[in-house]
Symmetry: C2
Subunit: 191 residues, 2 copies
Amino acid sequence: MTEKTRRTGRPPNAEAGEALKAAALRLIREQGYDGVSISAIATAAGVARQTLYNRWATKADLVLEAVFEETARYADRPAPDPQAPAADQLRVFLTGVFAHLGRDGDTLRALIAAAQQDASFGEAFRTRFVQPREEMVTEILSRARERGELPEGRSPRLMSEFIHGAFWYRLLNGQPVDDALAQEITDSVFA
Amino acid sequence: MTEKTRRTGRPPNAEAGEALKAAALRLIREQGYDGVSISAIATAAGVARQTLYNRWATKADLVLEAVFEETARYADRPAPDPQAPAADQLRVFLTGVFAHLGRDGDTLRALIAAAQQDASFGEAFRTRFVQPREEMVTEILSRARERGELPEGRSPRLMSEFIHGAFWYRLLNGQPVDDALAQEITDSVFA
DNA sequence: TTGATATATGGACTGCCGTCCACTAATTGC
DNA sequence: GCAATTAGTGGACGGCAGTCCATATATCAA
């Protein structure tokens, strides 16, 4: 259904898009998400403000894409060894996620806030960011269930919601999201 | 330390404050939190914009106070019977909280978002709203622990974080926060 | 070459925010 | 009554958001 290649018209300038994403990440790390205006990003990238709007509807959409590519570049997710004990898999996974939050937690908090204020961005954020991570945990727990490592009466889906809820709650309330929490969560789920 | 009564000067017009809170709640229910500007609230209340700023630093501070008084008016919290089984206490408490979210969940989501964007409001929101509710659950679970109703190896504090995290996560991701979730959570905590 | 199509730019415009100011109004202390 | 103090009003200001537009630019199709 979708046209992969446009047949005509001036092609988008790829450099402009890359410059915008790079400028957004740089400025936000320097001045915080809310301290950076769309105008400032466009100016820093050396393009017109309208060019940014041509690509993304909001600052949040731009930043989501930039963060997404950034994490992919650093190969953020070493897939957990499916043979290891499920508790270890979960702890390793959470440790990795929490380490990322230590670097970009403020940006993620800002994106969660943006998702509450803009329904269309919220949809994109959940689809591209939230659900995949929730499913990774659900999958670890489902394998654990099959191998009898997860105590009876615990639904992988509900446990995954609990786990994500716990660190969202900590993140959004300014509490530490660290290795100790990863250990506590893991102990609690498999106890 | 704080002076309770001012000795001199024109006294604040109590009606203006009440009119602002009432107008804020009414407009937000009609048009959504982000659809209502500070100017619109002041206009609807029939006062100058500066009068609103004299009382509250941000729209979020005004709405937090209005919601707070509103829930107090409707006597939102029938204290759970401390003699009942802890599982029942928890389920009743969660059912009550979730019913409130059905009415004002959108406003609460907006306040959580505002707390991420304004550190000073975040502090007030957590102190006045989040912590008291977290402590209520912690207390129910602590009593359950003393009476041997809470399985060993489960910290009331961590369980309370899990519980609140679970419904925050649902609320912030547009998933249902209903009686079924209250039942699931209760079963899971006491299973 | 010419026309159709799509992007890039700079500028304009409205609305709101947060702040500030001059002025008026209400209250207390002397 | 009068001065000091605080609250309320209306208006101004600069900054940013989001939208729109005229114009220039780049590419494809005929």
